[in-house]
């Protein structure tokens, strides 16, 4: 009997339950895909360089499950309160609380079961799409991947857990709530309380948010320059709190401020729209704050993931500009000599070309001494002749450098690049050389040194060679990098005991390592972002659709007072649009400063050619994608609302609208 009644109720309440159903199904689908990725042997082989893959996927799954469980608890509780009069009526008619609890559990259980099945079905497809994305990031051909039993079981278990968490909270409410509370009408109007206080708080949170963002920006620059991220993480957390507080206070204030503008208020249906929003925003201030925080988090994380991808594409070319690079410190004993290394490389691919070059040093610290901590690091002035540097640049497609009785500092560290060498001259072979500048722009040819100085060739004449280096271009650009690296690595006795030593860097091995990490990060971030955005949208939709019956009565009155269909639709559009926009406008606007910040970070990392435009393009694209999904959800909600709310006259309007 309960199953039949539950089924009938689900059918009857399909409008409210539809969003709930879609939300659960989508969460399950995404979770299914990530769990299968996490446990798939094939994917693990693809990403064998990334040891953290499963840990990362487990972390994002746990985080997303927590958010989803909270949202579903909220949605279930919300729908329960929406129907409290109905349950009150059941109690009045003689049903016991246990009966009602069973009925509600049956309804949500039925729906969750259907959503679990649908979600797992959709997850089968999403998993393969995720594998395809992963393969594309790793630049390897896509092959259909097998599903993992552990992944399927974990999804089912977590799905069941989420259902239990969300249902138990509602069952507890049904056990405790009194009959009078169930039958009591909710007050519709929301008069503003302490408007001046809220306005002051809003202004304070706005100032606080701007201040925190500026401090974070300074910390961000410092963190990337000094490689210290602790303060930055703290400020990022404070920013998220400020985003929440800003939205919380402004949700309670903004409509009140607009309502004080008589000209605006007395125009057409504005009063109806603003008053409708006022109540909604005040009641949902916490929710709006939480959603905005989730959205900011999702947008920032997506930008970080894609920024990492852009960085990686460029950093591979910069960190290892040739297929294989060798660098031997001649003061150390070598387990594998350069010639032996060359033979090993040739076993994996014929060597198409080889560029030999050297670093020279007198063991002095005339220039290095300008850098703080140089002595602890044991740095000495190392010089590369200009002709060799330009030959290396030419191989990478860079313009040659010219130096006239000057030296150029080359480094990969922004902090070193920022040191002022003006006035610092070095005399080599009797000729003084002045500082021509410092740069992080060029590829890292001498990968085991932090810095070196490029000087005209005659400056190093007769100077001892400190490091012998070579850059190889291979006929086969994609050799078996893992095996080659293993062969080029040997155990060497050092003062700290036996250590693995490898004087070679393989570009393909770099690429696989970076791609596996970035792939994991991108998929993990996309997953979290999608879950966050969908949860936010689900809540906004549920909130909007749940008030349609009240809205229909209001719009029927508007119709009688002379608001035609177009006017009503415009009013509804503004009302739903503003409600959807409130938690999303600022997060989406974050795109612009975020793009600028990433541009600055690329600059610090030495990708001057990347700064600004590429970062901005990525940030805008991410925001547009989120805005697109957001707009789609909003539009569907608006269409459903139009069908149920807009009064077009005739029998239905007079019966449903005004004679409830």
């Amino acid at each position: 009997m309960f199953a039949k009644l539950a089924l009938r109720n689900v059918r009857r309440q399909i409008r409210s339950y539809l969003i709930y159903f879609v939300t659960v199904a989508l969460s399950v689908a995404l979770m299914f895909a990530v769990n299968n990725l996490s446990y798939s042997d094939q994917v693990r082989q693809l990403a064998e360089k990334s040891n953290d893959m499963r840990t990362m996927f487990t972390m994002v799954t746990v985080l997303s499950c927590l958010v989803t469980a909270l949202v579903l608890s909220y949605a279930t509780g919300f729908m329960l309160k929406l129907r409290k009069k109905e349950f009150g009526m059941y109690l009045t008619l003689g049903m016991t609380r246990r009966n009602i609890q069973r009925l509600f559990a049956c309804e949500t259980g039925l729906l969750s079961f259907l959503a679990l099945i649908t979600g797992m079905g959709a997850g089968l497809v999403i998993f393969q799409l995720a594998v395809a994305l992963f393969a594309s990031i790793l630049e390897i051909p896509f092959a259909v991947s097998a599903y993992s039993p552990q992944g399927i079981l974990l999804t089912a278990a977590v799905g069941l857990g989420m259902f239990l968490v969300s249902t138990l909270a509602s069952l507890r409410y049904l056990k405790k709530v009194t009959l009078s509370e169930l039958l009591k009408e909710e007050a519709a109007e929301q008069s503003e309380k302490h408007p001046a206080l809220w306005l002051s708080l809003s202004a304070a949170t706005l100032a606080g948010l701007i201040g925190c963002l500026l401090v974070t920006y300074q910390n961000l620059l410092a963190a990337f320059r000094q490689q210290d991220g602790v303060a930055l993480l703290l400020w990022l957390a404070i920013d998220l709190v400020m985003v929440f507080l800003f939205h919380f206070t402004w949700s309670r204030t903004i409509v009140g401020v607009l309502l004080r503008n008589k000209r605006l208020k007395n125009k057409g249906t504005n009063t109806v729209v603003l008053r409708g929003l006022s109540g909604k925003m005040t009641v949902n201030a916490v929710l709006i704050g939480a959603l905005a925080t989730l959205l900011v988090f999702a947008i920032v994380m997506s930008n970080v993931a894609f920024g990492e991808r852009i960085y990686e594409e460029h950093s591979i070319q910069k960190d290892c500009p040739y297929d294989v690079m060798a660098m031997f410190d001649l003061s150390e004993t070598q387990a594998i000599s350069m010639e032996e290394g060359r033979q090993i490389i040739a076993q994996y691919s014929p060597i198409a070309s080889e560029l030999d070059f050297q670093l020279y040093s007198l063991g002095e610290t005339t220039l290095c001494s300008s850098i703080l901590g140089y002595d602890e690091m044991g740095w000495t002035d190392k010089f590369m002749p200009l002709s060799q540097f330009n030959a290396l640049l030419a191989g990478c497609g860079y313009e040659p450098v010219t130096l006239d009785q000057a030296y150029l500092l080359i480094t990969t560290v922004q902090g070193i690049c920022d040191v002022d060498f003006s006035g610092k001259t070095v005399t080599l072979n009797g000729t003084p050389y002045a500082w021509a500048g410092s740069s992080t722009f060029y590829p890292d040819f001498a990968r085991r040194t932090w810095l070196y100085f490029v000087v005209p060739d005659e400056a190093v004449a007769g100077m001892p060679v400190s490091d012998a280096c070579a850059a190889y271009t291979l006929a086969d650009r994609r050799p078996d990098a893992a095996a080659m690296l293993e062969d080029l690595t040997a155990v060497q006795e050092t003062q700290y005991g036996p250590e693995e030593q490898c004087n070679f860097a393989i570009q393909e091995e770099y690429r696989l390592y970076c791609s596996a990490n970035t792939g994991t990060l991108i998929i993990g971030t996309l997953y979290v972002s999608t879950v966050f955005v969908c949860m936010a949208l689900a809540i906004l939709s549920i909130k909007t659709l749940s008030t349609l019956d009240d809205e229909r009565r209001r719009f029927a009155v508007l119709y009688r007072l002379g608001a035609d269909e177009k006017m009503q639709k415009a009013a509804l559009f503004r009302q739903i649009g503003a409600f959807f926009l409130m938690p999303s406008a600022l997060p989406l606007l974050f795109t612009v400063p975020l793009g600028a910040v990433f541009g600055k970070i690329y600059e610090i990392w030495g990708f001057a050619d990347l700064s600004g435009q590429k970062a901005m393009e990525t940030a805008v694209l991410i925001s547009m994608a989120i805005a697109g999904v957001y707009g789609l959800y909003g539009f569907i909600t608006y269409r459903i609302a139009c069908d149920h709310v807009v009064c077009r006259g005739g029998e239905s309007c007079s019966r449903d609208g005004l004679r409830p």
């Binding site: 007050a187 519709a188 109007e189 929301q190 008069s191 008589k262 000209r263 208020k265 007395n266 125009k267 057409g268 249906t269 504005n270 009063t271 109806v272 008053r275 409708g276 006022s278 109540g279 009240d550 009565r553 209001r554 029927a556 009155v557 508007l558 119709y559 009688r560 007072l561 002379g562 608001a563 035609d564 269909e565 177009k566 006017m567 006259g649 005739g650 029998e651 309007c653 007079s654 005004l658 004679r659």
Partner: protein, 254 residues
């Protein structure tokens, strides 16, 4: 005097095929400016349908409705909305105030829809609130008002646009007798002092007795009509009771 409202042979059918029911069956009557007419009849006699077709919420199946010479059947949907906005005022049994708006906001809403300037809106609000004695209640939300106050706010909303015709659908249906009496005195004042033309549907003989003319509907037709003439309200009330007794005693007499 020029006729304000002319109803000519209006019929209204609901359903189709064998399930057709005739809600209005050739109803014809006229109203002159400043008239206060009540429509009475048993449940299902067609009172609300008649009000709905005059209010342009429903379209008649045949016949014509002319307001100030304009045939409402010839107006397009958009023009009908403008017609309701500019020429009609509504008062309902359940008040139908918007619960999210204050009393003042509810009252000025029709003027906002007309796009009137703020100064004019505020002036008219002051006038109408003073005449209906609800100035103190303007900042309150409907939930904070008594039934009688809510209905007076609804009256103010109907009056504020100075409509050609005010349509009232069981305006005292949700009020107790004291508030009903107070509201009908308000209606009389609106009619006599402000010259409003009122067409009111009611079950209640006491309420009907305030009108200057009463139309009795039965099975979708006008069965009888009474004019007050020189009679006082008490006499009119007895006339209505007599008419209803003859009508079949089906009406809900109070």
């Amino acid at each position: 005097m020029k006729t304000l409202l002319e109803i000519k042979h209006v019929t209204k059918y609901y359903g189709s095929g064998d399930a057709v029911s005739k809600a209005l069956n050739g109803v014809s009557f006229r109203m002159e400016p400043g008239e206060f007419t009540a429509v009475m009849g048993a449940s299902g006699s067609g009172k609300s349908t008649l009000l709905n077709v005059i209010a342009t919420i429903d379209r008649p199946s045949s016949g014509s409705i002319l307001l100030e010479g304009t045939d409402l059947a010839e107006l397009r949907e958009q023009d009908l909305a403008a017609f309701r906005r500019d020429r009609l005022g509504f008062i309902f049994q359940e008040y139908n105030l918007l619960d999210t708006l204050t009393a003042a906001e509810n009252i000025v809403l029709p003027l906002n829809l007309q796009g009137r300037p703020v100064r004019e809106t505020q002036e008219r609000l002051r006038e109408v609130a003073a005449s209906l004695e609800i100035t103190e209640q303007l900042a309150k939300f409907p939930r904070q008002l008594s039934g009688g106050q809510r209905q007076r706010v609804a009256c103010a909303r109907a009056l504020i646009t100075q409509p050609a015709l005010i349509l009232a659908d069981e305006p005292t249906g949700a009020l107790d007798s004291a508030n009903s009496k107070s509201l009908m005195q308000t209606f009389t004042g609106m009619n006599q002092r402000l010259g409003s033309t009122i067409l009111m549907v009611t079950h209640d003989a006491v309420v009907g007795s305030y009108a200057s003319r009463v139309l009795f509907l039965k099975d979708g037709r006008i069965w009888n009509e009474l004019y007050r003439g020189g009679r006082d309200r008490q006499a009119m009330y007895h006339e209505i009771l007599n008419a209803m007794a003859v009508l079949g005693g089906e009406a809900d007499v109070r």
